[in-house]
């Protein structure tokens, strides 16, 4: 566990340097945002704790990425979602909101619908892995909340995402 914690912190640091904005979910004021605000940066020191939200975000991986105009889950995405499902089943007190996002290369309304498809694909996969649907909600932000702001594929590929935002427990 000790060495794993070190690796996790390293990964987190790399993530921060690779793109200037990693915290997709602190924008706006939606319910999902509140969850991230409550647990995001403040949980930094707790990444080593496998039941922490910081651990979920960074070690499990809180997001999956999509191809252009697609909502099909890639093999990598399915792998990440399987780990997410395990975490959610282990930490049964938490709920999650899955945020669907699109890159800027599309019209506003269509991208909201596309983001909803992506969030739903992730949600349906988690449910297929045994996570109760009652613990999961979806929301689409379309192209309204990019995390990478350049206008090239290197940024677009990060923005075409579904992010699982842990939104607090039932009783905790």
């Amino acid at each position: 566990m000790k060495s794993l914690g070190t690796i996790v912190l390293l990964v987190a640091a790399l993530g921060l340097s690779a793109c200037s904005k990693t915290g997709a979910d602190r924008f706006g004021n939606g319910a999902g945002m509140d969850g991230a605000n409550a647990y995001g940066a403040g949980a930094n020191g707790a990444y080593g704790d496998p039941s922490s939200i910081g651990y979920f975000q960074n070690a499990v991986g809180d997001r999956v990425l999509f191809e252009v105009d697609q909502s099909t889950l890639t093999a990598t995405a399915q792998d990440t979602l399987m780990k997410q499902a395990q975490w959610l089943l282990t930490n049964g007190d938490y709920k999650a909101i899955i945020e669907g996002h699109a890159d800027e290369q599309g019209t506003r309304e269509y991208n909201i619908a596309l983001g909803a498809r992506r969030a739903t694909a992730a949600r349906d996969f988690l449910v297929s892995q045994g996570v109760p649907a009652s613990r999961l909600e979806i929301v689409s932000y379309g192209k309204e909340r990019p995390i990478a702001v350049c206008s090239t594929e290197s940024c677009y590929s990060q923005n075409r995402r579904a992010v699982t935002v842990i939104s607090g427990g039932f009783s905790s």
Binding site: G28, N29, M33, E104, Y110, I112, D124, V139, P146
Partner: protein, 443 residues
């Protein structure tokens, strides 16, 4: 919050007590927009005469706005005042047409400004056809509050524009839009309203929630828009005068967006996303009754009514990519109308009913375009990194839209363009702006 709450009192009356108007001359003084104007018509707009003490400033401002409206169409060229031979110092004195002909003016607008005993602003104007040496149409008088001077200027310019082009007026109108501030990754959005020319910006919401795509009711008194204030996209209706708002009824676990009024001002068409699938619905606001218009596994969104309310144009990716379709306003089998290369979205029916404006994506570029209702005569008006979301001027001659610039410092601005594709202009705004929706002509 209510810049023109009292502007309904603005009265338009035939000017009393002046000589009988000269018959309209429709000969040389004519701009046919459909033929495509290459050379703008030279027009002289001497400063309106201040007929009462203290009217000097407003006379100067008002004349500038009239000139800006007309020149801003790209159809007129203002003759600089330094070139004038005659001056207009008395509104009722005979016009020396030879002097205006000598400076190559084809049209001449003269006017006077005064305030009456009750403090109301009185504006009179005449439009002259310099070559035939007479008035074009009747002189008119407008009365209103001093605060409403801009609207009165737009009304004068609307009269001049309509008489010379034969087109409907559009300057006395407003635009509701999304004001944008902040960096691309943390953009703050507020609902805002302005005059069509970017003046008198007022904010209708704060920046605490994402707001998207406001749309006017047919009488301009209400606005539908999408907000994330509940944490999920949901449709709200706002009374523009009071800025009071309420959420439209929706079903838990769904997202709703892309609303637009029908011409009855009571029916709202919009998109609902449920279980990842987006379809079109219609809501009767009076009864709360909701009907489903489409039932397909594809994305159906961006609906827009025909002006007579009988049909809806919308976008769907049922063919595998975004395309435009028309169906009966009650639902039913749609007919595809877009068949060119690329993807088509955000269709908007023109106020005249004869055209559809749309966003087109092709080969990595975005375009605003127009086509006939049957999909023929497609014409692209713009091209850029990202243009989207057209809205029609009340007379169906100008389109305003969002243009987003490229890269890390990318920002949204609003532009307008004639449906001929000419006269592309940025709407002057203090901050970024997107998702414009043009109001009907004000009354």
């Amino acid at each position: 919050m209510k810049p023109f709450a009292h502007a309904a009192a603005l009265a338009l009356a035939l000017m009393a007590g002046t000589a009988a108007p000269v018959l309209a001359q429709s000969g040389p003084l004519r701009i046919d927009i459909t033929q495509g104007v290459i050379e703008p018509m030279p027009i002289a707009i001497p400063q309106f005469v201040a007929e009462s003490a203290g009217a000097q400033d407003v006379a100067a401002q008002l004349t500038s706005v009239i000139a800006a409206d007309l020149v801003g169409t790209g159809l007129f060229r203002e003759i600089p005042r330094e070139a004038f031979i005659s001056q207009i110092s008395n509104f009722n004195a005979p016009v020396q047409y030879a002097d205006w002909k000598a400076v190559n003016a084809q049209a001449l607008v003269t006017g006077a400004v005064s305030t009456d005993a009750s403090g109301r602003l009185i504006i009179k104007f005449r439009l002259h056809d310099v070559f035939s040496g007479g008035e074009m149409g009747e002189g008119l008088q407008f009365a209103g509050t001093v605060d409403g001077w801009r609207r009165m200027a737009h009304k004068v310019a609307d009269q001049v524009y309509s008489r010379i082009t034969g087109e409907g007026p559009y300057f006395d109108s407003r635009v509701v839009f999304v004001s944008e501030q902040g960096s691309k990754a943390q953009r703050q959005k507020r609902l805002a309203i302005m005059d069509y020319d970017g003046a008198n910006v007022n904010y209708l919401t704060d920046a605490s929630s994402i707001v998207l795509a406001p749309r006017f009711s047919p009488d301009g008194s209400r606005v539908l828009y999408t907000s994330y204030e509940s944490g999920f996209p949901r449709i709200y209706v706002m009374d523009v005068g009071s800025a009071s708002r309420r959420a439209l009824a929706d079903q838990p676990g769904t997202m709703s967006f892309a609303p637009r009024f029908g011409p009855d001002g009571n029916t709202v068409v919009y998109s609902v996303t449920e279980g990842g699938n987006t379809d079109l619905y219609a809501l009767n606001m009076a009864t709360g009754g909701r009907s489903r218009l489409t039932s397909a596994p594809s994305i159906e969104t961006a609906p827009s009514f025909s002006p007579d309310g009988s049909k809806i144009v919308f976008e769907s990716d049922r063919s595998g990519s975004q395309q435009l379709y028309i169906m009966s306003s009650g639902g039913g089998e749609p007919t595809r109308i877009s068949f060119g290369d690329g993807r088509y979205g955000t269709p908007v029916w023109s106020p005249r009913g004869d055209m559809i404006a749309f966003t087109k994506q092709n080969k990595g570029r975005f375009h605003i375009g127009v086509m006939r209702v049957d999909g023929s005569e497609e014409r692209l008006l713009t091209a850029s990194f990202l243009d989207e979301g057209p809205t029609w001027s009340p007379n169906g001659r100008v389109i305003m839209f969002t243009r987003e610039s490229q890269g890390e410092s990318g920002a949204a601005a609003m532009y307008s363009v004639d449906i001929s594709g000419r006269n592309l202009k940025r709407v002057p705004l203090p901050a970024g702006g997107s998702d414009p929706a043009w109001s009907p002509l004000q009354r």
